[in-house]
Structure formats: C-alpha cells, structure tokens
C-alpha cells in the first residue's frame, strides 16, 4: 500500500512554491503587512535577550511609573519594571501559549472532525453533543473554570484554550467532510478500490483542510486575546511573568491618573499581534485555493 502513497503527496511543496508566494504577496499588500508583523514577533521571540534593555522581571521601586524616556523607552510600570523589555519577552509567553493551544486543537480536532463527518453513527452523535456542551458555555467562563480547576500555570492556560478550540476545528472539518463524502470523486475513489483510510486522508482531508488552515490564524489571534483576557481578570498567568494581558491589567488602575503608557503599549502589542494573524488568515484563504490563477 505504501507504493500508492508516494507520487506527488502534496501539491504545494514543489520548488516553485516560494517564488509563487512572493508574487502572491506583491499583489496583496495587506498580507505583506501581516507577514512582516509575524516576522517581527518571531524575531522578538528569538532575540529577546538582545533586543531587551532591562531584565523583564527586575522590579525597581525607585523608578516606578516612569514615562517613556531614553532610559526606559516605553516607560515603567508600578513596580518599576521596564515596559519595553517586558513586551518583548511577553511575545514568547503569549505566542507560546497560543500556538501550542491552537496546534493541539488542530491536531486533535481535525481527525475527530474527519471521523465524525465520515462515519455517522451513535458515536459521532455523542461526540458532537460533547462538543455542544463545551461550546455552549461562554468561551471566557469555560476558560476561567478550566484554569481555576487545573491551576494558574502557563501550560494549563494553553491546555484550557486547546480544549476550547478543539470543537472549532472538528466542526469545520466535519462540515466539509459531510459535503465532500457525497461528491462523485469519492464514489470514483471507492470504485478505484480506495480503503476508508485512504479516502479519509488522501481524498477528503486535502480538500477539507483549507478552512481549518485559515482558522488556525484566526484562532491564534483569539487565543492571544483570551490569554490576555484571562490574565487581565486574574485567572491566567501570574505576576511577575511578562504577559501582555497581565500588563494591561496592572496598568489599568493608573489609567485615570493620566499614566497611559503602562496599559497602552502592551495593548498595542495585542492589537498588532492579533491583526497580523487576521491578515495572514485572510490571505491564506486565497493562497491555498488550487484554482487560484497562477
């Protein structure tokens, strides 16, 4: 059976793909902006020690709530920690949580969606009802509940978000599978002697994946917001770990005193990060369509 799997596994990994992407980006400035922002975030993750000017967790009571200056580019927070350095380091935490959560949700949700969409029996119905149960809670309430049960660790936040996002991917793939399984190329594959496994993973999956891939970016954006939100209300990451939502939260009390920079800059980081994934999602939707003119 292995012999049947070899030729042309993935149409999109051929050598022309890179220049193809280049040409695509030239025509799509919004995608280029999204990609640039993403690259900046990745650079921040890798070179955080180089890029930062201070230790992100070093409190300094003498320099509490300093406005932006040459010493502290984006000012300091109430404990005197450097906001710029904290924002740089927080990229690690925020993206780590988000990418792990969404990646796990994708890896678990996609096969479940395929199976549930292709085989329709009591087990499929039961799975869908479980998903209904998970999704019927407001996302935030569910996140809070999971984190409070498991403890306020970074990994627990990631797991909680992963649980929340799994039904999203499973549903998307299921919906695609439901319509794809009725298409005549599936009937043709059956006539060609394709086994169920092959129909699921070689015929249905490649055609069902596009919306899920787009959803990855959307979900990462959402995960960043949720992580920040959970920290903001005190259910997520704890001080002094640098995390964007937490930073917005700690600065929010000073906001009315005109000390805007403590919340503003981490807030801006959240916005730009979410925006980058939204723009990429939008472009990815068009890029992965094989019918796109080349």
């Amino acid at each position: 059976m292995s012999a049947t799997m070899t030729p042309a596994e993935t149409p999109h990994t051929d050598l022309s793909a890179t220049s193809d992407l280049g040409r695509f980006l030239v025509r799509r400035p919004a995608a280029l902006i999204g990609l640039t922002l993403l690259v900046l975030q990745i650079l921040a993750i890798i070179f955080a020690p180089v890029l930062s000017t201070h230790d992100p967790m070093q409190a300094n009571a003498l320099r509490s709530l300093q406005p932006p200056s040459w010493e502290n580019w984006l000012g300091t927070d109430v404990s005197g920690m450097d906001i710029y350095s904290r924002i740089i380091y927080a990229t690690r935490i925020n993206l780590l949580i988000s990418v792990t959560a969404v990646g796990a949700a994708f890896i678990v949700g996609v096969p479940i969606g395929l199976l549930v969409g292709y085989y329709r029996g009591w087990a499929s119905n039961l799975t869908m009802r479980v998903f209904d149960f998970v999704q019927s809670f407001p996302v935030f309430v569910m996140g809070m509940a999971l984190v409070s049960v498991m403890g306020q660790e970074i990994w627990n936040v990631a797991i909680a978000l992963g649980v929340l996002f799994t039904p999203v991917f499973a549903r998307l793939i299921r919906a695609e599978t439901l319509s794809l399984r009725e298409r005549s190329f599936i009937a043709a594959a059956k006539c060609s002697g394709a086994t169920d496994i092959k129909i699921l993973f070689r015929h249905i999956l490649p055609n069902a994946l596009s919306p899920a891939i787009v959803q990855i970016s959307i979900s990462i954006g959402m995960a960043i917001l949720l992580t920040a939100g959970l920290s903001f209300i005190g259910a997520g990451v704890r001080m002094p770990t640098p995390e964007w939502g937490l930073m917005v939260s700690t600065g929010s009390q000073q906001m009315i005193l005109g000390i805007w920079w403590v919340s503003f800059f981490p807030g801006l980081a959240i916005i730009l990060s979410v925006l980058s994934f939204a723009l990429i999602a939008d472009a990815a939707r068009d890029f992965i369509d094989p019918r796109r003119a080349r």
Binding site: M1, A3, T4, T6, P7, A8, P11, R183, S184, F185, A187, A188, A189, K190, C191, S192, G193, A194, H203, P206, N207, P290, R291
Partner: protein, 554 residues
C-alpha cells in the same frame, strides 16, 4: 427585409481589458422572427445576450459599435430608459429557472408582483391575471400551482413560469439564453414549443442562444454561428443545413449529425460498425452473458417516511463485448441502477451475476477483488476528479487493485498507455483537473476507469455537459475503445443520439422499471412502448427540417 427590425447590433465589440470578447458583431432581429445563435463554450454567446440588454458583466467594456433598439443606440439611453428597455421591450430568459425565482415566495405571488408594477393592476386582479398567464404557458391546475414555492416545482414547470414572467410586460423581443439547458429532452421540447409558439402568435422577435443545432433546425428561421467572439456565418436555417459556407459551420453540422450511423448487427468492417458481440454471431445462443441482473430492487427512504422505489425489480443481461444502453429521463432510476452494479449502493433484493459469480450480495471486502474488472465512468467531468490530485495520480489510483502493476515504473507506463488510449498528450500527466477542458476531464475520467483493463464499464451520461464537437469526439473515442479493448458496457444516458451509434441493445427505463428492451435498430424503427415513442419524438434531429421542407415543396 420588409419586416421591422426590433433590435440589432452594428459592429459591436466588447472587450475584457485587452482581450476582445465580441468582435464586430452584426446581428439583427426583426419582428415575428426566430433567430438562433450557436456556438461552443466561450464563443461569446451569453456576453452578446447581456450586451443586447445593456448589462455587461463587470470588467467588460464596449469598445466599438453599438446596440440599436427602435432607432436609438443603447449607449445614448438614460438609466431609466435602459430599465424600461429591459423587461419592457426586451426580456431575457436564462438557464436554470429555479435559480431565477425567489425561493421564499409563492410563484403566483412573484408573477403578480411583476404584473402590478408593469400594468398597475390591483392586488386581486394581478393574481387572477397571473393564474391566467400560468394557464397560457401550459401549467396544469394553475390555481394551486400559483401557491407553490419554486422548490416544489419541476425544472420544466419553473422554466414555464419564468417564460410567463418574461411575457408579462408584453416585450417585443425575447432572448432565451440556453433556456432549456439541463432539462430532459421531452420537457425541453415542450418548453421550446411553448416559447416559440407564444412568440410567433404575438409576433415577437425571438433570439435563441444554444449549442444544440437540433434546436436551431427545429425552431429557428435564421442561424448565426459564433466562434471566438465573432459571428462567422449567418444564414437561413434551411440554407445552412443544406450546406454551411464556412468550414467551422460544416464541422459543427457534421458533429451534430454524428449519430445517424445506426449500428448494424454484424459489422462488415467499414469502421462505422461496432464489433460483433461475443465470438460467434449475435443471433446465436449467448452461451453465458457477462452480466445478469435479476429482479434488482433498490429502495430509498423518503423524507416523509415513505419509500421511494428508485429501482423496482429490473432484470438486464449484457453479453461479452456487448453494449447495452439504459435510457430514461432524470429520476427514472437509471443512475441508481448503475451505482448498484458497481456496488456504490447496496441492493435491497435480487441478484447481480457477473461472469458466473453472484456479486450483488457479497460483503464489500469480498467485492473488492472484483472491482478491477468492473469500473464506472462518472457523469460530471470535473467533480468526479479530486481537484487536488494530478492527472497521473488520478489515473493510477485504481492500479492498487491490479496486482500485476506494482512498481512505480509499471504504474507510470500504464498511466502513459492510458493517456494515449484516450488520446491525451503525455504532458497532461502533471496537471491538475481544473487546468483541463471539460472534454479532457472526461477523457481523464475514462482513462481512470480503464486503467485496470476492466471487462465491464458503466458509463454514466458520458456526453452531457459537453459541446457538440467535443461530444462527437467522445463518442468516437468510446467506439474506438469498445473495438480495441473488447469492452462490455452499460451506457446510462438520456441522449438518444449517442445511443444509436454506441449500443447494441437498448433498455428504456421509467419510474424504476424497464418498460422496453430490444436491439437498437428495432427500438429506433419500431418502438413498442408509448414512452419510448415519446422519447424518440423529443429528439430534435437535424434531418427533420430537410424532410419538412421537402414535404412543403411537394
């Protein structure tokens, strides 16, 4: 030309950017005249229709000439005048009537709305007028139909309602853009009869846009042949049928006439006949047919809990090297029957015996061994191909069933062999389905089905949705393959044209039952069942006009 010209184009050119889509088109439509525009996909027919009502698609621009209506150029008209032209003077009837009707409003209501805006009738009077119109377009029981929603109507019925709507405002010109595409042949004839009759009685100018020369020869006074945005030939229909002036016209006409070579029972080697069935003579006792279906039943559970008898106790025999055509209209159960034979559907009752072995009730795992010998070519050329697979992968997929082809090199050579068999260049092995034309997609589907060198192939509507010339090529190809590979085949179709030149025998199916079976020549010459006669009458053979003219001359 004493008749008043209602609508004409003078040197009309339309372009998409730099690409010229209509090139100096001159066509005139006079009152009480039916003109047919014929061309293949991409010839610019629909664009011309849209130009005629001043509704160019986005990106298209008029670069030369104009459309003239009643002495005025469309480009000089105000938006209000243009609105009045559309619907008031010119009505457009499009393909797929159901999509043109509002799905959430009863059809009577929809027609009444149009009536009220055009004739300023009261609510009540409009509804009565709508019912009257429904009667005029041949809708039985118009009062109750008026309260129906579009999805409750058949395609033909919906098309009648669209025609009724188009005629409401009393237009002078009716444009029918492939108005009967996708309808069954018998319904198509009814709808066209109605449309042309209404237009003739009211003295309208009618423009029928189609790719079917049969329709043109039956209904039109004049014909214009379009190719690549140009009108390459324009003539009276009888003159065109007698002898087209351009080579393209001749080619189209020839392609449309591909069918008349009726297969003779025993071929005398002139290339136009099908191979003989089996080894001996056809009349001899068939030792053992390759496929025997006995009392096959397939039921579906309907939405309302009732049972739909899609296939109702049919029995068929197909000999070795024989082709049987299963003919019927949509909904007759013919495709279901085909899918049961290749075991895409499980049968409820009866048996399917293939080469002496009962396969209809085998468990799926045991049937897998038989798949290599029984293949199917699917109906729609594009959707039957996985859009993310390359042609070579598509064709080699069934080779996993063939234990004689194991190595990658073997597979590759078999793929190339198949591409050659269906007359496709080797270079296409690396492309994706969407890069192919419909005809090429169809060929890839056939190559896939033939890759394991099966003994028996089910062809599901092999010629629908294809342009005339492509259709003729596919029919030619199937005939060659039958000869070269000695295939036995079940040919599922509603296109009687193709049956005539492809099948040894014909089985006519209706409401899940087989109403008549016989040799192709017998069925065509002496149909025994009323339904068969009806199907035959629904054909629009090109020769008929010639006969009609002859009769008129006498």
């Amino acid at each position: 030309m004493s008749k008043k010209v209602l609508l004409e184009t003078r040197d009309l050119s339309v372009a998409f950017g730099d690409k010229l889509a209509l090139d100096r088109v001159n066509i005139a439509l006079a009152e009480n005249e039916v003109v047919g525009i014929v061309g293949e996909t991409g010839a610019g027919k629909s664009l011309l229709a849209r130009s005629l009502i001043g509704l160019l698609p986005p990106g298209a621009e008029r670069t030369n000439g104009d459309v003239w209506s009643d002495g005025r150029a469309l480009s000089t008209m105000s938006p209000a005048e243009l609105r009045n032209l559309r619907g008031g003077v010119v009505s457009l009837i499009g393909t797929n009537a159901k999509a043109l009707l509002d799905p959430v409003q009863p059809v009577g209501e929809q027609v009444a709305t149009v009536l009220r805006s055009h004739r300023r009738l009261s609510h009540r009077a409009a509804r009565q007028a709508a019912v009257k119109l429904f009667r005029q377009v041949g809708i039985t029981d118009p009062e109750s139909r008026a309260t129906a929603y579009p999805h409750q109507l058949s395609g033909g019925m919906a098309q009648r309602i669209v025609i009724a709507m188009a005629l409401v405002a009393g237009p002078k010109v009716v444009l029918a853009d492939d108005a009967t595409l996708g309808l069954d042949a018998t319904i198509q004839v009814q709808v066209l009869d109605l449309l042309v009759e209404r237009c003739r009685t009211e003295g309208l100018g009618t423009l029928i846009i189609t790719h079917d020369l049969g329709i043109v020869s039956q209904y039109c006074d004049r014909v214009a042949i379009m190719k690549g945005g140009q009108i390459v030939e324009q003539n009276d229909v009888s003159a065109f049928l007698a002898g087209p002036q351009t080579s393209y016209g001749q080619e189209l006409l020839k392609a449309a006439k591909v069918r008349p070579t009726l297969i003779k029972g025993d071929g005398d080697g002139d290339g136009e006949t099908l191979p003989k069935v089996g080894d001996g003579t056809r009349t001899g006792p068939k030792s053992s047919p390759l496929l025997q279906i006995r009392d096959m039943v397939k039921h579906f559970r309907g939405r309302d809990g009732g049972v739909v008898k899609a296939v109702d106790e049919i029995s068929i025999e197909i000999g070795r090297g024989e082709t049987l055509a299963l003919v019927g209209e949509s909904g007759s159960g013919k495709t279901t029957a085909g899918q049961c034979i290749v075991r895409l559907l499980d049968i409820n009752c009866g048996e399917i015996v293939f080469d002496g072995k009962e396969i209809g009730n085998l468990p799926a795992s045991e049937f897998r061994a038989m798949r290599k010998r029984i293949q199917m070519v699917f109906q729609e050329p594009y959707v039957a191909l996985n859009p993310r697979w390359r042609v070579e992968d598509l064709i080699s997929e069934p080779l996993s069933l063939d234990e004689t082809v194991r190595s990658a090199a073997d597979r590759r050579s078999r793929v190339l062999e198949m591409l050659e068999a269906v007359r496709l260049p080797k270079t296409l092995a690396k492309v994706f389905p969407h890069e192919l034309t419909a005809g090429e997609q169809k060929r890839v589907g056939m190559a896939r089905a033939l890759a394991t060198r099966p003994d028996f192939v089910v062809f599901d509507e092999p010629t629908t949705a294809l342009d005339i010339r492509v259709r003729a090529q596919i029919i030619d190809l199937i005939r060659t393959l039958q000869r070269e590979m000695g295939l036995s085949a079940l040919f599922i179709t509603h296109d009687l044209n193709s049956v005539r030149s492809l099948a040894h025998r014909v089985a006519v199916m209706r409401y899940g039952k087989i109403v008549e079976t016989g040799d192709t020549s017998t069925i065509f010459e002496r149909p025994g069942h009323d339904y068969t006669r009806m199907l035959l009458d629904a054909e629009l053979p090109i020769e008929r006009v010639a006969e009609k003219d002859l009769m008129g001359a006498i």
